[in-house]
């Protein structure tokens, strides 16, 4: 809607511009002014007028800066005179795409979030002023209705507001602003009619059936109870009901036969009001609690139904356990009592039982998931309080005994301060009246308070306190700061966390109406629960960085003042022991690399706790793994968590990417991306308890073990040199100390990080968990849950099992063995040899599984020991069965691509030998591309050694796979020559004595040349494509749009490289030159990038990054296509970029899909398609290139410039040149034949270049600069490799 309007505006503009020209043309004729055409002698009135126009000086309209105004400074009158020019939406990167931005976007966004906040806190008068201020800023006034809806949605539910007032209000708005109301408006009014007992049916009957359907779709406004009332009315027929509510409609109006049948299906204790059977979970029951008890009832029902098949006592006991556990803990394992759904699930005998259990668990977990997301913060606080109370009973609160009690102490001390601040904010907002006289200080700080007050009152103070503490604890040792974090990050993170909490609350609020006591059947529940949440209302009310930072400041500042820890010191003069109290958080500045950096340090004593050997229970509940399948992706911002808004593409400060996604989402081209991600999201996992036990055993010792870092004590430091030591000695000492301390700090921070992961893992032991996924801007998928997911290192990966088990069978047993060989490091051999390796080592496998703690165990020596141990456990269990193939396996088997980037390049370039080396071609053994490249390098070096080259002579016996590996691997991703030679230097460094005569860098550079040349030789076609991609990106990032205005002396490069993946995801390279803004906060002023500024692209980054990004977008596409196909085949599927996982018995099905999808992806000419897309998108663009000064075009351009200068009597700017070319093109496209004729005769500095192929003569930046129409080079020829053969290649992914 918005985009169509925007393009309409552009068309109207273009037409208007022609019209003006034409009018002037007529007046020019009637005035019969002397001819002044660009081409000599002709009479070209339009051209003359254009030139006449150029003489005029232009005034830029003034830009009102609204985004920095506080709520009290906003006055609708100020914005009334905003010129149309300012409002017109402009294309982000290209007019080709219906993706535009408003120059006032920043202001609209500021006002929208303000409106949102003021409405939530019930400030309707102020909200109204903001509402009416939004109107003049909108480029598309139709969208104003969305803001109006937001207003009345909140306002109309006030009891003091009558339906008449609402109607009157809307009438006024319509009259004043001439807008159309929409179905959402009607739903809000309808709801008001119902709640005030108005004649809602007669209101409804004004609308057509179609509109009624749309109105009813707004379940979050009407609520299921109100809808049921409406559906009871005889005038409402099925035709008025949207499809997903038909069931509900039918139920309301169901026939007695249906009712009876359903009654029979429904056990008695599902009836409402049967309190006895419904376990009360928590006393302060919220609206959501019935869901839990209902779910539990369902589990009970399904499980008890299985009574006859035995195990009923166990079931009873199990259920009792859960019930009692739920009273205290949402994630039960945090209480150290382990309830294991997974063990229980596995113990169920038949698949029917399992299905029933899964179903029950689904419903049960729906409620828990909501609690996790919504009440998680409270849960954390309860945990703290619990420990605090225990400690108080025992005496004093002691930090060394546990952090939680300490956290609770801070919380308790912070709360009154935050509550007081909330009061002040409310006072300022006029929400409460008080005769309390403000202190001088308050008056002074009120100006500052105005900026955050509307947001500070939205989340309850209790939650804000917990969130602030959790965020800061989470950020410990990030951003390069030892025992602390960068202040800017702390401020923004706390602010953002508050925003997220508020948004979750709002989603919950709008969700409440969807639940009803009247829903009786499982099916209905499920339907209602899974119904997507319309989050569009939140779309454009993102809080600005400024708001986030100021909020953060207002919370962190008081926290610093109250959060204390006890400390011990020694008086230097008396030697006496002294105790004291110090701040737990300390704001200070550090000098890092000569720059002053604001940091927030966490007291060492606290920080030590976080990296210690105890789990600290300080997990931030947001973004944890989910207990239910994620909401399916159905829109670019709809999917994933239930109450935590997330986008399908993870972007940081790139509104352009979001704009493109929004457009694609509206066009409906993202379905394949959704499908692929949904499969990943629906894969059910559980935590491998056996592995967890082994890991936590080693963790708790505090000693280093495999990749578990040790608990760090203070580093053992060398003695300091004497004070009068030579400056160099002192400097060296300092440098050495920094290296040492960095090592210690890094171990500590790794331990912190791992602690976090393990804590989450522990909480989810025995649970069925899911990971919502989204993608980066190239389409690569990642779990949204950031800390604990299957993307981690060996240790983390080993903790993952598929929830579902599948019997191995012969095939599966073989793949289980291959998996062990792979993770053990035997992955270069043919499959049979890998199997053989494991079979030879079976005794070791069994021994590892039975005695995992034995020192120097076989599994320790594996390349990926933890994952190897996981397989050992399974194999051991399998071989304990009479028939190991009957074993039900849960472990994911990995199939990895061989240098996946090169595989895609080889397919693109059609390089046969290259394709062979990365296993695209069937072979008996897996090929090793690194070894092959090393052999090519060897050949080259040998030749040069023969001719006596000193580098070659020295290096010829030192070339091996390892030397070239990293460079080959990173070559695809655009490693530079400098980067590559640094990699190679690392590999050959040890051949050179320290302080020796020879410089190893020279040798590294020499070798790098040959490595590059060898890769090029092997992947020749691929490299031509890489070059082509780089050149195309260069031209785009240096291109100029036809938008420069007359008089502009500088050109702007505003277009990003944008392409669409074969499955429809628009990829926008987010590299622009950032503009920074200074934000004042209570803690310090911070300087951060301004995402909404209009920034030029960063041409260097755009260029360098494009080839690897393009290839990544292809490997991502391949993964998503495979994911979808595997999902359709009923497989459990997971992926870590180019490593695809499934059950052992399904590996071959997955393998077939991996190959099919690869062939499908590469069966069309992707580069040709890319070129066509570029040509369409960047059509009519220009570029500055430099040509030799003696080229004939130079004289022509100069002549034209001179003739124009003579006419306009001022210097000609590049903006003028572009303007003239634009006018020429408008004339050529005109309906007016005379204008077309004149356009044909007009010559501009750009049109004269068209007859030459100037790209072929372009030289650096030393030549003569000319503007030429942007063109792309021809795409290089492909080699003869036929991608179909991949289907037969066993080691392509293996």
């Amino acid at each position: 809607m918005l985009s169509r309007n925007a393009s309409r505006i552009r068309i109207v503009q273009a037409a208007a511009s022609i019209r003006i020209c034409h009018l002037r043309y007529i007046s020019a004729i009637t005035n019969s002014s002397p001819s002044a055409g660009l081409t000599s002698g002709g009479n070209f009135p339009i051209i003359n007028t254009i030139l006449e126009d150029l003489k005029q000086k232009r005034h830029e309209p003034e830009y009102p800066s609204i985004h920095s105004k506080t709520f009290s400074e906003i006055n609708p009158k100020d914005f009334e005179n905003i010129s149309d020019d300012l409002r017109v939406e402009k294309a982000w990167s290209s007019d080709y795409d219906p993706v535009t931005r408003s120059p006032l976007a920043k202001d609209v966004s500021h006002l929208s979030s303000l409106l949102d906040g003021l409405l939530s806190s019930g400030n309707f008068d102020r909200a109204f002023r903001v509402l009416t201020s939004i109107y003049p800023l909108l480029s598309n006034h139709d969208s104003f209705v969305d803001s109006v809806n937001r207003y009345i949605e909140q306002w109309s539910v006030q009891e003091s507001v009558s339906i008449q007032e609402v109607e009157l209000f809307l009438k006024d708005i319509q009259r004043k602003y001439n807008i159309y109301l929409n179905d959402r408006t009607y739903a809000i009014v309808l709801s008001k009619y119902m709640s005030s007992n108005g004649s809602y049916i007669s209101y409804l009957n004004k609308f057509s059936n179609q509109t009624k359907q749309k109105i009813f779709s707004h379940v979050e406004i009407l609520g299921i109870d109100e809808l049921s009332r409406i559906f009871e009315d005889p005038s409402i027929t099925e035709k008025c009901v949207p499809i997903d509510l038909i069931e509900t409609y039918r139920e309301v109006n169901r026939t007695s036969v249906d009712a009876e049948r359903e009654e029979a299906e429904r056990p008695q204790y599902f009836e409402g009001g049967n309190k006895e059977e419904a376990p009360i979970i928590e006393k302060d029951a919220t609206n959501l609690l019935p869901v839990d008890s209902f779910g539990l009832k369902v589990i009970r029902h399904t499980l008890l139904g299985l009574k006859d098949q035995g195990g009923s006592i166990e079931i009873e006991k199990f259920l009792e356990n859960i019930e009692s556990d739920l009273k205290t803990h949402l994630l039960h394992n945090t209480s150290n009592i382990k309830k294991d759904y997974f063990e229980f699930y596995k113990s169920l005998k038949t698949s029917e039982q399992q299905r029933a259990f899964n179903k029950g668990l689904d419903l049960f977990n729906e409620g828990r998931q909501r609690q996790l997301e919504i009440r998680g913060v409270d849960g954390a606080r309860e945990k703290w309080k619990h420990e605090f109370d225990l400690m108080q009973k025992r005496g004093t609160v002691n930090l060394s005994k546990g952090l939680n009690a300490q956290l609770y102490q801070w919380y308790k001390d912070l709360l009154p301060l935050v509550q007081a601040e909330v009061e002040k904010c409310k006072l300022l907002l006029g929400e409460i009246e008080s005769d309390q006289i403000l202190s001088k200080d308050d008056i002074k700080t009120n100006k500052d308070r105005e900026h955050y007050a509307p947001y500070f009152v939205l989340v309850p103070p209790e939650k804000m306190c917990v969130i602030s503490i959790l965020e800061l604890v989470k950020l410990n040792s990030t951003g390069g700061i030892v025992n602390g974090m960068r202040t800017a990050r702390a401020l923004l993170s706390v602010g953002r966390a508050i925003e997220l909490e508020y948004k979750s609350q709002s989603l919950l609020q709008s969700d409440r109406k969807r639940f009803s006591k009247k829903l009786k059947t499982t099916k209905q529940w499920k339907q209602m629960l899974r119904r997507k949440n319309p989050s569009s209302a939140l779309e454009d009310s993102e809080w600005t960085h400024s708001v986030q930072a100021k909020l953060g400041g207002a919370l962190i500042r008081p926290l610093i003042s109250v959060a204390k820890v006890p400390v011990y010191g020694t008086n230097p003069t008396t030697g006496e022991k002294v105790t004291g109290i110090q701040s737990a958080f300390h704001h200070t500045y550090q000098y890092l690399n000569g720059q002053k950096l604001g940091v927030l340090k966490i007291h060492k004593n606290v920080s030590d706790q976080l990296g210690g050997n105890k789990f600290s229970n300080s997990v931030q509940p947001q973004l944890l793994p989910m207990l239910v399948p994620p909401q399916r992706w159905e829109g670019y911002n709809r999917g994933g968590y239930l109450y935590t808004p997330s986008n399908i593409v993870r972007v940081k400060d790139s509104p352009e990417t979001l704009a493109y996604l929004r457009a694609a989402s509206k066009r409906g081209t993202l379905d394949d991306v959704y499908d692929g991600l949904n499969v990943l999201g629906e894969t059910a996992w559980t935590v491998n308890r056996e592995l967890f036990d082994v890991i936590s055993h080693h963790w708790n010792t505090g000693e280093e073990f495999l990749d578990i870092p040790p608990v760090t004590k203070d580093a053992e430091l060398p003695d300091a040199p004497p004070v009068d030591a030579e400056p160099k000695v002192k400097l060296d000492y300092q440098r050495k100390m920094k290296v040492l301390l960095n090592e210690v700090a890094s171990i500590k921070s790794q331990r912190c990080d791992m602690n976090y992961k393990l804590e989450i893992a522990r909480g989810f032991i025995g649970e069925r968990i899911f990971f919502p996924h989204n993608v980066d801007f190239r389409g690569r998928a990642y779990p949204i849950s950031p800390h604990f997911n299957h993307l981690g290192n060996d240790l983390t990966r080993s903790l993952f099992l598929f929830w579902e088990g599948k019997e191995l069978g012969e095939v599966g047993l073989r793949w289980l063995k291959i998996q062990l060989a792979n993770v053990y490091g035997v992955d270069k051999a043919p499959f049979d040899e890998r199997v053989e390796f494991v079979e030879k080592n079976l005794e070791n496998v069994f021994e590892s599984a039975t005695n995992p703690y034995k020192p120097n165990s076989w599994w320790h020596k594996a390349e990926k020991p933890w994952q190897a141990l996981g397989v050992c456990f399974e194999l051991n269990k399998a071989y304990k069965l009479d028939d190991p193939t009957k074993f039900v396996s849960h472990i994911p088997i990995h199939q990895d691509g061989t240098c996946n980037g090169l595989q895609h390049y080889a397919a693109l370039g059609g390089d046969f030998e290259g394709a062979k080396q990365v296993n695209l071609v069937p072979a008996d053994r897996p090929q090793d591309v690194y070894k092959y490249v090393a052999s090519l390098v060897q050949k080259r070096v040998d030749e040069e050694a023969d001719s006596g080259n000193k580098y070659a002579v020295f290096l010829k016996d030192k070339i091996n796979r390892k030397v070239v590996k990293q460079t080959v691997m990173t070559n695809v991703y655009g490693v530079t020559f400098v980067g590559a030679s640094a990699q190679i230097k690392k590999q050959i460094d040890h051949y050179f004595p320290k302080d020796g005569e020879e410089d190893p860098s020279e040798y590294a550079r020499y070798l790098t040349l040959h490595v590059f040349a060898s890769i090029r030789e092997l992947f020749e076609g691929a490299h031509h494509i890489q070059d082509w991609l780089g050149e195309a990106a260069k031209r785009i990032s240096k291109s100029v749009r036809m938008e420069e205005k007359p008089g502009d002396v500088k050109v702007n490069h505003l277009s990003s490289v944008i392409w669409t993946t074969p499955i429809g995801l628009p990829c926008v390279q987010p590299y622009r030159i950032p503009k920074t803004q200074l934000i004042k906060t209570k803690l310090q002023d911070i300087s951060i990038t301004d995402p909404l500024g209009i920034n030029q692209v960063d041409p260097r980054k755009q260029q360098i990054a494009f080839p690897p990004n393009f290839v990544h977008s292809l490997d991502a596409t391949h993964m998503l296509m495979t994911s979808k196909a595997c999902g359709e085949a009923g497989l459990s599927f997971a992926a870590v970029h180019d490593s695809y996982w499934t059950h052992a018995r399904d590996v071959e099905t997955m393998n077939a899909e991996i190959r099919n999808q690869f062939v499908k992806l590469h069966s069309s000419n992707l580069v040709q398609q890319l070129k066509e897309e570029f040509e369409a998108r960047y059509n009519n663009f220009l570029q500055v290139i430099h040509v030799p000064v003696d080229h004939p075009v130079v004289k022509e351009v100069k002549d034209i410039r001179r003739s124009i200068v003579q006419k306009i009597k001022r210097a000609l700017t590049i903006g003028d040149e572009i303007h003239l070319e634009k006018q020429r093109r408008i004339m050529l496209a005109s309906n007016n034949p005379e204008a077309v004729e004149e356009g044909k005769n007009m010559e501009t500095t750009i049109s004269v270049t068209e007859k030459y192929d100037l790209y072929s003569v372009a030289i650096g930046t030393t030549g003569f600069p000319v503007l030429v129409p942007l063109k792309f080079p021809d795409i290089p020829e492909r080699g003869g490799f036929d991608v179909e053969t991949v289907k037969q290649s066993p080691y392509f992914f293996s």
Binding site: S477, G479, G580, Y591, A725, P786
Partner: protein, 360 residues
């Protein structure tokens, strides 16, 4: 005929040659009278009465007119010309060769082709090249057999180098290990203005406090300011100009022409080196904002300082802006800090940028 007393007639011709061969980053004085005024102002002869035992270490003399005239004035036992850049080495080789011919180099110039920026160069010059053999003199008075001259006029390294030389005065290392060695330095104007600022002056920063703590410094000469406004004393602390009455070097008397620099004389003070490093931290952290009052800035010294130190500091210090603190105030502050039981250790004060291993 020049009125300057210390001109070496045998070098005069060589100085008159085209000076454009010198690296322009090193500024120099080309006028003999100006150099003479500087030498008179320095009153060197009375400071080095036994100059037959004097070694001069002359770092980056470049064009070197001032150096050659100081040489004439003091007639040292050794005058080490420490030069590293090709052109300057060539120039000085030529000069010394010439002198060898005409005076048998009774001036005692020795070219030491080492990089004065590198700390090792000095020990190598003394221990390996054995060009000079300075004696360690008691620290109760200024060393009278060793003098350092340095042309630190290039802003890019002049400022950091003078700052480090001042620290060497405090630590007693580098050439300062032989005793309290006087230094005569050409420094960039901005550096001189900052480093010599007194308490309360808006350019007061941690370097000027350190200069005041560890040295007695005098502003000997300044170049004529480019801007007339500057001549009102806005650039330099006016108290300094009044106290030191520096020589004014005319704009045309420099290479490159219109160059800007200042000549300083620095004498190390007698101080206790043991606590210098601790104090460096206090200085750095308080000067994070020089215009805020001490009471507010104490927090940046370390956690707890904001709470603990005010109890042991007088209000008149706490209520001063950091830049207003006098030398005595600083001493008081340091004393309280030294006695503070929770003063951070060396490790706590070391700012390191750790490898970021955590991903969010």
């Amino acid at each position: 005929m020049s009125l300057a007393r210390c001109v070496n007639p045998h070098l005069q011709k060589l100085f008159l040659k085209n000076s454009s061969r010198f690296q322009n980053t090193f500024k120099s004085i080309t006028n003999e009278e100006s150099c003479q005024s500087i030498i008179d102002k320095l009153d060197l002869r009375s400071k080095y009465p036994n100059s037959q035992n004097l070694d001069i270490v002359d770092v980056f003399p470049g064009y070197g007119l001032l150096s050659s005239m100081i040489n004439m004035e003091l007639k040292p036992r050794n005058h080490v010309i420490m030069e590293y850049s090709k052109t300057h080495v060539l120039e000085w080789t030529e000069k010394i060769e010439h002198l060898k011919e005409v005076t048998s180099n009774k001036e005692n110039f020795v070219l030491c082709q080492r990089d004065g920026w590198s700390w090792e160069a000095y020990d190598q010059m003394i221990k390996e090249d054995k060009i000079i053999d300075p004696q360690i003199k008691p620290r109760d008075k200024i060393h009278d057999e060793l003098l350092v001259i340095g042309n630190l006029s290039p802003p890019k390294f002049g400022e950091p180098l003078i700052a480090q030389w001042i620290m060497c005065c405090a630590f007693g290392n580098w050439l300062q290990k032989y005793g309290r060695v006087r230094m005569i330095c050409l420094v960039p104007v901005a550096t001189a203005q900052k480093f010599l600022a007194g308490s309360g002056f808006f350019k007061r920063n941690k370097s000027s406090v350190k200069r005041e703590l560890y040295t007695n410094a005098k502003l000997i000469a300044v170049t004529e300011p480019k801007d007339v406004i500057d001549s009102k004393g806005i650039g330099y602390d006016p108290r300094l100009i009044i106290r030191d009455q520096p020589v004014l070097i005319k704009r045309e008397n420099t290479i490159p022409a219109n160059a800007e620099f200042a000549v300083l004389e620095l004498e190390p003070k007698l101080i206790d080196a043991a606590v210098v490093e601790d104090h460096e931290h206090v200085l750095q952290q308080l000067f994070i904002s020089s215009s805020r009052v001490v009471r507010e800035m104490l927090t940046y010294i370390a956690v707890g300082a904001e709470e603990d130190l005010p109890a042991v500091l007088p209000d008149h210090i706490l209520d001063k802006q950091v830049k207003e603190l006098s030398l005595e105030d600083w001493q008081t502050l340091f004393k309280s800090y030294d006695n503070w039981p929770f003063k951070p250790s060396y490790i706590d004060r070391l700012d390191i940028l750790q490898d970021d291993t955590r991903v969010f």
